[in-house]
Subunit: 362 residues, 2 copies
C-alpha cells in the first residue's frame, strides 16, 4: 500500500514506452509491436499493476443500458422486491457517478408466450447487459443464444439454467433449501410423523426449482429419519381462487400424524391460518419476508420462513453487471446466497438491516 500505487505512467517509464502503448497492451487494442508488447507485459506482471477502478469510470463516459426480464409484480410481493432490488442497484450506482440505467421488461408469470414476447422486445432495445429471471426454462434457449452471439453478458437470478452461457447465476441452492426446511420441520420430534409439501398455484412440470426443493426435503427426511419412520407427501394445489382449493387443502389436513407442512413458495400465508386452525401443533414453514408472511409469523401461524432475499439477489445482479461492464471484473459463475432462517424472534433484525446498507462497500 505504502509504496504508492503503480500507474500506467509508471509502467510506461519502466518499460521505456509511452502511456499510449501501455494502454493498448492493457486493453488488447492491437497496433503494438511484439517487442513492445512483451516489454510492457513483463513490467505489468512484475509490478503487479492493478488499474485504479475509480479513475477508470471517470474517464469512461458511457451510459450503460441494462435490461431486466422480470415477472409482472402487480400482484406479487416477491417479484416486487426483485424489482425494488434492481432499482436500488441503479440508484446506488448513480450515487457514485456511474451512468447505469436499468430498464425492466415485464412478463405474465403464467404465460410462456408473454415471456418470449418480452424477451424479444428486450433484445431489440440493444442493452449492454441483461438480468433475467428465467421462469420458463424450456423454449428460452434461443433467446440466450442470441444474447451470446451479440456478446451481451447476461445474469440469471432465482432460477438456475445450466449451459446457456450465463455470466453468472445468483440465487440459492434449492436442494439444500428443501433439506433445511425438513431439518427445521422435524427438529426435536421423536414420534413417527407425516409431513406435507404444498406447491401452490404452480405448474410443477415447468418449475424445476420447486422440484429441487422437494427432493431436498425428501432426501433429508429419508436420510436422517429413516429410523424414525417419517413420511413425506407432496401436493400440487391450484389457484387459491379455484373452487377445488379449499377441499384439496382439507384433504391434506386429514393426513395421519401430520406434524408439519412445507409450502414451497412465498404463498404460505394463504394456507397458514387454516392449518393452525386445524391443529396448532402442525408446524408450518414457508418462504420469504413478504408482508403477509410477516403477519403470519407474528401471530404464530407460520413457524419458520426461509428467506430468499429477492431484493438483494436483484441488486447484486445489477452490481455484478456493473462490475463486469465497467471494471471488467469477472464474477463467480455461481453466487449462492445463504439460506436465512427467519423466526418470530429474529425477523425484526432482518427487516431493519435491509436498506441500512449504503455507501461504498464490497
Amino acid at each position: 500500500m505504502n509504496p504508492k500505487n503503480i500507474r500506467i505512467k509508471d509502467i510506461a517509464t519502466k518499460a521505456g514506452v509511452s502511456e499510449g502503448t501501455v494502454d493498448r497492451v492493457i486493453h488488447n487494442r492491437g497496433k503494438v509491436s511484439d517487442e513492445a508488447a512483451k516489454k510492457v507485459q513483463l513490467v505489468l506482471d512484475k509490478l503487479k499493476y492493478k488499474p485504479n477502478l475509480i479513475a477508470r469510470t471517470l474517464g469512461k463516459n458511457k451510459n450503460y443500458k441494462i435490461a431486466a426480464l422480470l415477472p409482472d409484480h402487480s400482484n406479487d410481493d416477491y417479484w416486487k422486491q426483485s424489482y425494488d432490488g434492481i432499482k436500488l442497484g441503479e440508484i446506488q450506482l448513480a450515487q457514485f457517478g456511474i451512468n447505469f440505467s436499468v430498464d425492466p421488461f415485464f412478463f405474465d408469470m403464467h404465460s410462456k408466450e408473454s415471456y418470449l414476447e418480452a424477451s424479444l422486445k428486450l433484445f431489440h432495445s440493444k442493452p449492454d447487459g441483461v438480468l433475467v429471471a428465467p421462469l420458463f426454462s424450456f423454449g428460452s434457449k434461443p433467446f440466450f443464444k442470441k444474447l451470446k452471439e451479440a456478446r451481451i453478458p447476461f445474469i440469471l437470478i432465482n432460477t438456475q439454467l445450466q449451459e446457456v452461457g450465463a455470466l453468472s447465476f445468483i440465487g440459492q441452492d434449492l436442494f439444500k433449501s428443501g433439506s433445511l426446511a425438513a431439518e427445521l420441520i422435524s427438529y426435536g420430534l421423536t414420534k413417527p410423523s407425516t409431513f406435507a409439501i404444498l406447491h401452490i398455484d404452480e405448474d410443477l412440470g415447468n418449475s424445476v426449482h420447486l422440484q429441487e426443493k422437494e427432493h431436498g426435503f425428501e432426501n433429508f427426511i429419508s436420510q436422517q429419519h429413516k429410523q424414525q419412520g417419517h413420511l413425506v407427501k407432496s401436493f400440487v394445489l391450484g389457484s387459491p381462487e379455484s373452487e377445488t382449493f379449499i377441499p384439496q387443502l382439507r384433504e391434506v389436513l386429514t393426513l395421519q400424524n401430520l406434524a408439519g407442512i412445507f409450502i414451497s413458495t412465498s404463498k404460505g400465508h394463504i394456507v397458514a391460518q387454516l392449518i393452525k386452525q386445524s391443529s396448532a401443533h402442525i408446524r408450518v414453514i414457508g418462504y420469504d419476508l413478504i408482508r403477509e408472511n410477516l403477519t403470519c409469523l407474528q401471530n404464530g401461524t407460520i413457524d419458520f420462513l426461509i428467506n430468499q432475499n429477492p431484493m438483494r439477489q436483484a441488486k447484486l445482479g445489477v452490481q455484478t453487471l456493473a462490475n463486469q461492464l465497467i471494471f471488467k471484473k469477472v464474477p463467480p459463475p455461481l453466487h449462492l446466497f445463504p439460506l436465512e432462517i427467519i423466526t418470530p424472534q429474529n425477523v425484526s433484525t432482518y427487516l431493519s438491516h435491509e436498506g441500512n446498507q449504503s455507501g461504498i462497500s464490497i
Copy 2:
C-alpha cells in the same frame, strides 16, 4: 438519470459565479459573501446537486490512516475473524484506488491495563479514524473523550457503549439475540424443562453484553413459557484450563429436567461434546462460525449457532469510516446485524457466501 448529471460547473453557471465559489459553499470553507452563498445554495437545492463521489476520491489524494483497537487474536478465532474483516476492507478499498491503510493495535482481552495502554498508543499514531472493540466499558471513557476533542471519528463494533459520542455502533441486538436462543432452545418442547446459560471464561461484571444476552434469554422463557413452567439457571465458568472447570460443568449437567444449554460466547465447542455425552437430548446453542464450532455442528454436538459475523462487522466498520471520511456520508448511529441462525443444513451456504462478495456494491 438521463438529463445528465449536474456538475459543479453547471451550478456555477446557473448561479452566475465561478466554480471556486460553489466549491467553497459546498465545503463550507467560508470566504464567500452572504449574497453569493445564498445564490449558490438556492441553485444547489433547486437542481438537487449530488456530488459525483467517484470524481471526489480521484481528486482527493490523501492517504487516510485508520487505527483499529482489537483484542489479540493469537488464541481466538472470533477476533481473528474481526481482524480479517478490517484487512479485507482495506484491500477492497485499495482496489478502488482509495488509499486507506488500517493499522491494528492489539490488547490482551483479559487485561484492562493492556487495553488502556494500546488505546494510548493508538491515539499517538494520529489516525484519521478509529475502529474500537471496547471490551472494557469502564475506564475507557477518557479515551473516547480525547478522540472527540481531536475530532477523530470512531466506530464501535461488537459492544455498544452509550453516550461516548461514537459515529456509529456496528453489532447486534444482544437482548434479542438471547431471546432468539431461548426461542430455538425451547422450540416444540411440551414438558416443563430447565435451561442453563453458560458464561465461559468471562468476567460477567465487566461484560455488559453477556448480561444482555442473558436477560433476553430469561425474558423470552418467562414471557412465552410461563404457563409451561420452564426454568432458567445461569452459570459463570472460569477458564477451561482451571481445575474447577470440569467439576462445575458436571454440576450443571445434573440439573433436573435439563433440556438445553445456551453458551453465551463462541466457546461452545469446549463443552458441547461433554454435554451430549451426558445426554443426547440436551439441546446446545452457541455462537459464531469459528472452526471448532463448525466441527461440533457437523457431528451433532451443537444444534444451533447464532452467527455474529465478526468479519462482516469489522469490514463494514472500515467501509463506514471510508464513507464518512471520503464521501462524507453520515452513517446510521446504529447498524444492527441480523441474527443469523446456523444449522447443520445451512451452514455450508453461509461459508461459501463469505468472500464471494467483491466488486462495487453498496
